[in-house]
Amino acid sequence: MITFIPLYAFTRKVPVYESFVEGAKDGFGTAIAIIPHLVGMLVAISVFRASGALDFLMGFIAPALQGLGVPPEVLPLGLLRPLTGTGSLAYTTDLIRVHGPDSLIGMIASTIQGSTDTTLYVLTVYFGAVGIRNGRYALKVGLFSDIVGFIAAIAICMLAFG
């Protein structure tokens, strides 16, 4: 893609370099415009985690999952994933390191990490970039699909590897 696009454009007599620089300028402005949004969101997430509130929430849900035969180790991932991409990636990496990449836990963790997204980050970045303040129902839909993806990942892995 990196070579195809400029080559194709060149055959269309597009001044490729100038065109690239024009577009690239937008990229810089966009990155700067996102800063306040990301700072605000990441502070809230970081505070929520450091205060122990996230641990408390997890202690609440873990027993219920255990009853279903779901390894409780993967639960924090479901809570972390919508909040922090790097945080959940770190957690997944840790699960893979401790339990092995091919264990049930390792497979579930890999699938969850690969199949859901950092909803709050995506929302912050995308809406922040265009100055949307009222996101309507976007967050509900995003979190709902995270929950569905999380449950689907566990169910499918337990069926396939359990």
């Binding site: 690239f20 690239a24 605000g40 809230a44 408390f56 929430l57 859901t116 309507r136 993806g149 396939a160």
Partner: protein, 221 residues
């Protein structure tokens, strides 16, 4: 809703920190979060600058319009209120394909470009349009064919079958995407129905209500 969640996370965090005697960690977390906000934004500069430049070249060459026309029907179904042949469609498609290939880094700039194009169609610049919500829904669930990062990590830790998660990931994302599209459609219809009697001001009243079902699950968030 985002107002409520943001406030709730900070207030609940503060209360927990006070109860657990973690005020020092609380303060540290504030500056830590702020710092990583800036770091992440700066990390995005290189990717955004490069890909947005690339996308401009593709746009000037007429590539985006071509893709848009080719895959118009699919996007027409998902984004009924975006006019056919609008530049937003090309960006939406590039964003979807980058997600499909698991190229999170390349997907973001294209998603942002798509948002910016959708914003030109938006009558109220501070309120998201249904099309914007659909784009977000697709991005948070995003069907993934090749979870590249995960395969790399698994390889790193000596997996016998690093790509063994491709099938499960594809299946799980397909389910999540279907759910997202369905939920998006449902909410879209609900807001359309609610619109006429209670006109313009849609204040994020959900956050104040704090009912059990959704606000709770979003507390994780």
């Amino acid at each position: 809703m985002i107002n409520g969640i943001w406030l709730a996370m900070i207030v609940i965090g503060f209360i927990f920190a006070a109860v657990n005697g973690r005020m020092d960690e609380f303060t540290a977390a504030v500056f830590d979060g702020a710092k990583s906000g800036v770091t992440v934004s700066f990390g995005l500069i290189s990717v955004l600058v490069f890909w947005m430049g690339m996308m401009r070249v593709a746009e000037d060459a007429g590539l985006l319009r071509k893709i848009a026309r080719l895959l118009g029907p699919v996007v027409g179904f998902l984004f009924p209120d975006v006019p056919k042949g609008h530049p937003a469609i090309g960006y939406i498609l590039s964003n979807m394909s980058a997600n499909l290939l698991g190229l999170g880094n390349a997907a973001t700039p294209m998603g942002i470009k798509a948002m910016q194009e959708l914003q030109t169609l938006n009558p109220d610049k501070e309120t998201a349009t249904p099309a914007m919500c659909t784009l977000l829904a697709l991005n948070t669930a995003s069907i993934t064919l090749i979870p590249a990062t995960l395969i790399a990590i698994r390889l790193n830790y000596g997996s016998a079958e690093p790509a063994g998660i491709v099938g499960t990931t594809l299946a799980a994302t397909a389910v999540a995407t279907l759910a997202a599209v369905a939920a998006d459609r449902l909410f879209r219809r609900l807001t359309l129905l609610r619109r006429p009697p209670k006109p313009p001001v849609i204040w994020p009243k959900d956050s104040a209500r704090g009912g059990p079902a959704l606000p709770h699950s979003s507390m994780k968030g």
